[in-house]
Every structure is written in structure tokens, then in C-alpha cells.
Amino acid sequence: MGPDDPAVPATAPAPAPAARPVADKTMTMRDAIAAFVHDGDTVAIEGFTHLIPTAAGHEIVRQGRRNLTVVRMTADIVVDQMLAGGCVSKLVSSFVGNSSAGSLGELRRRIEHALPEPLEFEEYSHYGMVCRYLAGAQRLPFYPLRSYAGSDLASVNDGIRTVTSPYPGPDGQEERIHVVPPVNPDVTIVHAQRADRAGNTQIWGLTGVQAEAVFAARRAVVVVEEVVDDEVVRSDPNRTVIPAHAVDAVVACPRGAHPSFAQGYYDRDNAFYRSWSHISKDPERLQEWMQRWVLGTRDHAEYVAMLGEEHWAGLAVGDALSLPVNYGRRL
């Protein structure tokens, strides 16, 4: 630095090595569910209110999967639908309700009355679930958190345990803390705005626990509003929430998060949320609904078409574009 410092020869700019070939992991929803979701699997389905992979849940129902363990922080409409489809024997969750809009009829019948059959239920708090994914993603035997002390939940869930810290607490005494075990789903399914064909997945707006749920899983399916050119993803690598090496399948399924929303693509269908409490309250009406909208449709495109363009127009959103940042280019 400055003339009095030893000059070091500047290294000449060199062209980069040729780009490596990119794996193409795009699949149809049908093929992805057939390949990656099997009877008896533990299936994590994440998306906190935003980007709920409903279309994937519907395809699981269409393909008649059985005895699934579903792991989902907010067990909401898509879980009620998978229960109604007879796919689920066990649920791991921290919130069982139709958002703030009401109840899940099928879920309540299963838990309150074991109708049509009992549902095994493992309950954690939200952060407990987050920590289970964190432990799973980080290959940890447990994850500590400051919840559960004094809660009856620990008495009905043997998974919630305690560990004594090897360091003295703030008062110099021994300190205990609760821990939760890792979850390593056979497959995690998430929905995102976009990915490239290799699986580099970009999400904006609420990003929830999607990255952790994917990294915790043995396999991962990413459903997207659109598969974009590599250059789109690479123009903004910090936007990539899930890197390609953690992804096994990329499924293009526009509007696949309905009735939840995709920030910048379509809004939440609040009317549908409110109607679900009524639909699901009556088992017959619920089965009619399933027959018509899920089993009666070949795929999500048919479901989307059946909703009708007018309906979608009501969920359309305008533009609010992010300002660009400069990643810089070597001169």
C-alpha cells in the first residue's frame, strides 16, 4: 500500500473455466409425487401461511398414498384435505386450525371422536417444530430451546426432554434446558415463487422454515410458480433460499399454493379459508368437495381452470418491484 510497500505482481485476469453442465431436475407433479412420496413415509409440508404446497397435497390424495406421517407446523386446510383423503395416520404439528378463520372438521373428528379412525398426534410448539427442523438440518441429536418449562405438553409428549448444561447458569447453579429431537422427513415438499431447472430455489416475502425443512429431509421436492432461466437466479444469488444440491425435483405448478398466496403472484383466498370451516364440518359435504375438486380433477391445472378466471382475477396483485442491488463486475 503506497510506494514504500513491496510491489507484488498483480495477477492477470483469467477467463473462467467453462461452465459445468447443469442437471435438469424438472418433473411433472404426478411424476414427482410418484417418485418421492411412498406409503408409510414421513412427509414434511412447510410454508407458514405463505406458499403452502396445496397442489402437492392434492396430488398425494389423487395417488392414494396411505399411512403417511405428516409433519407440518401449521396443520391447516391442506392437512384437513389429506386427512379427508385417507392418506394420513400420524400428524406432527404445533398448530391445528383453519388459520384464524375457524376449525378443521376432519381433523377434529379424528382427534375428538376417532372418526373414521384415530389419528396419532405428536404436538410441539412452533419453535419446538422449528428446532426439530434445525436439528434435522444440522444432523444434531437434539436442539435446546427455552420453551416447555411448566407446560403440560411435556407430559403428553415423550419427545420433549431436558439436558443439563455443562456450564453454570447465570446464578452459578446448574442450568437445565428443554430439548427436542431432530426430524428427518423422508421427503420435504415446499412451494416457492421460482427455481432454476437444477433446483436453486428463490423465495421472497415470508420464507418461514422452508430451507431448514428441506435440509432436514432425505429428499426434497420444490414446487414453483415458474421455472426460470439460470440467469434469473444467478442475477441475485442471495435470493436463493435453497441451493440445488439439496433439491431432488423441481415441479412447475402455477397457482399451486391456493388458497394460500404467493407474494407477488396472487393473493390469499380469504373467502375460501372462511368457507372451509363450513365445508369440512359436514363429513358428507367434505367428501363431495374432495370428489369434485381433488379426485375429480386430473391435475392442478384442471383445479385452477375450474375455479375460473373471474375467481383468479379477484386474487390478482399489482406490481411493487424491488430496487436492484449491484453485485459488481470485475473491470
Binding site: F48, T74, H126, Y127, A149, V156, R176, W204, V209, R268
Partner: protein, 300 residues
């Protein structure tokens, strides 16, 4: 910390878990605490009778004086915080469970994840950051919670009604993040629209979100004081922290202590200096009706 003035106060947890022992800010025993000089609602915007939602929002908003970060859901807590921003706590910020900080919504949000909360927000955090760094990290002054049942120590049930967790008569939504809000906020405010013996119960059917007294019984000390305020359609219950029961400290005009005791499932203690809650002022009502929720989305 979101104010330069607070630069000298530590923002990381330091083990302190005492709640402010001051009286609720909303009572008239020592005069109005809102600094407002206008009297009860009489203005043009406030000709309509005060609804229960408005009453609870106004009372809760006054309790936020001096607080900076609030963890709140949609509905009354949001209205209360928005009103507090316009009155007693200009710099108070809502952190939403969805991960949104510093929202500047174009429309009144319908859920904690509403797209309008995200567009134009100052930050959107992942769940690990929101729950781990912000909430468990000790950055929340006041958490707002609701519940199906509350007991005199401020323990909450949002899981089941009935004797058996695994075969309840009513399955409620469950813990969500309430347990974390309880364990990690400096204090918790509970807003209950209806004060009844079934919800204010001597014994919870299930303790979902325990206050610090229950945690201490297990030898674990949480960060915060637990529930310090319960705001209901009858009045305000308060406690300062560990070892104290909720006591009735104020009632709405026309409500007696005996009415509240009768609506409470345990032998409710009453403060010696029981106060009467100052009714919403014209200014508060105008702000609430014209600025905060003109569409009356939540004020219905």
C-alpha cells in the same frame, strides 16, 4: 431497541425478569395517564356508542406506554398497538409471528402473514431468526396472547377442553408460538373479550403456555414476568411477576368488583385502590375509527 435515546440501555437479555410494578396506565385513580386533555367521547366521529372491541383496543393501547417492541397477532392487539403508535408509544413496533418487522401496510392486514404486511416492510425474517434471535433472544417487550382458559397465575390453555389431551371434547388449535411468547417476552398482555368463570378458571384443563411460576417449580427461570395484564370486557387484572396472583386493579365504569369476582372461577383478589377505567376519549375513538380501522374490519 429502536430509539437512539435508548442507546445506553442493553438490548440483550441480562437475566432480569421483573415486570414494571407500576399501576396500569389506563386507570383514572390518579388521573388520566394518556396525557389527553379531552374528555369522554363527544365529537362528531364518536357519536356512535363505544363497542366492546373499541373499548378493549383503547384500554390495551394505553398499557403500551413506554414499550418499544410488541409481539402481536392480528385483531385487537394490532389495533391497540396502532393506536398506541398514535398516542402513548410513538415508536412502538409490532413484530409478527410470521417474521415481519416494521410493517408499513397499504391496507389493514387480515392475517399476521397478509401480503400487505410484507410489501414495504423494513424486514422479513425466517422462522429460526424470528423465534430464535428476536423472541428467545429477548428482544420483545410485550407479547399479546389470547387463550381459551386462564388461571390466577396467568397460565394459559389453548390446547383442549376436556380431561384428556388425546381425546378432548374440544380440540383447540394448540400452542402455536404462544409458549415461546410467554417464556421469552418481558411481559405478556392477555385480551379476553368475555370475562366468564369458564375462561377464568381455578384449574386449567391443560396448561399449554405456563407462566414463570410453573416454570420455576421445575427449577427453570424464564426471561419474562409472564402475564402482567389481563384486559377484559369487565376490567383489568394485573400482577407484577413471579409469586403474585392476578388481582383486579380496575373496572370499567358501572362494573363492580363483585360482578368481576362472580365472573371469575377463582377467589379473585381485589386491589385496595380499585380504580375506574377512564372511558375512551374522543381523540382515541377518532383515531381508532378514522385512522386505524376506518373499514371497521376489526372494530365490528
Amino acid at each position: 431497541m429502536n430509539a437512539a435515546a435508548s442507546a445506553t440501555a442493553p438490548h440483550a437479555p441480562d437475566g432480569a425478569s421483573t415486570a414494571p410494578a407500576d399501576a396500569p396506565a389506563t386507570v383514572s385513580a390518579d388521573g388520566p395517564a394518556t396525557g389527553s386533555t379531552d374528555g369522554p367521547a363527544t365529537g362528531s366521529a364518536s357519536r356512535e356508542p363505544v363497542t366492546s372491541s373499541e373499548l378493549l383496543s383503547v384500554v390495551a393501547s394505553r398499557e403500551l406506554a413506554g414499550r418499544r417492541t410488541v409481539f402481536a397477532g392480528i385483531g385487537l392487539p394490532t389495533l391497540a398497538t396502532a393506536l398506541a403508535q398514535l398516542t402513548v408509544a410513538p415508536e412502538v413496533e409490532i413484530v409478527y409471528e410470521s417474521g415481519v418487522c416494521g410493517a408499513h401496510p397499504s391496507h389493514l392486514p387480515e392475517t399476521i402473514a397478509d401480503a400487505v404486511l410484507i410489501t414495504g416492510a423494513e424486514a422479513v425474517l425466517s422462522m429460526p431468526a424470528l423465534f430464535g434471535y428476536v423472541l428467545q433472544g429477548g428482544h420483545i417487550d410485550v407479547g399479546f396472547l389470547g387463550a381459551a382458559q386462564i388461571d390466577k397465575w396467568g397460565n394459559l390453555n389453548s390446547s383442549v377442553i376436556g380431561d384428556r389431551w388425546d381425546r378432548p371434547s374440544v380440540r383447540l388449535p394448540g400452542p402455536g408460538g404462544a409458549m415461546e411468547v410467554m417464556a421469552n417476552s418481558r411481559e405478556v398482555f392477555v385480551v379476553m373479550r368475555r370475562h366468564t368463570p369458564r375462561s377464568f378458571t381455578a384449574e386449567l384443563d391443560f396448561c399449554t403456555s405456563p407462566g414463570p411460576d410453573r416454570a420455576l417449580a421445575e427449577g427453570i427461570r424464564p426471561l419474562g414476568a409472564g402475564v402482567t395484564r389481563v384486559i377484559t370486557d369487565l376490567g383489568i387484572l394485573a400482577r407484577a411477576g413471579v409469586g403474585e396472583e392476578l388481582r383486579l386493579v380496575a373496572t370499567h365504569p358501572g362494573v363492580t368488583a363483585e360482578q368481576v369476582r362472580a365472573a371469575t372461577g377463582w377467589d379473585l383478589q381485589v386491589a385496595d385502590a380499585l380504580a375506574t377505567i377512564e372511558p375512551p376519549t374522543a381523540s382515541e375513538l377518532r383515531l381508532l375509527r378514522e385512522d386505524v380501522d376506518p373499514g371497521r374490519v376489526y372494530l365490528r
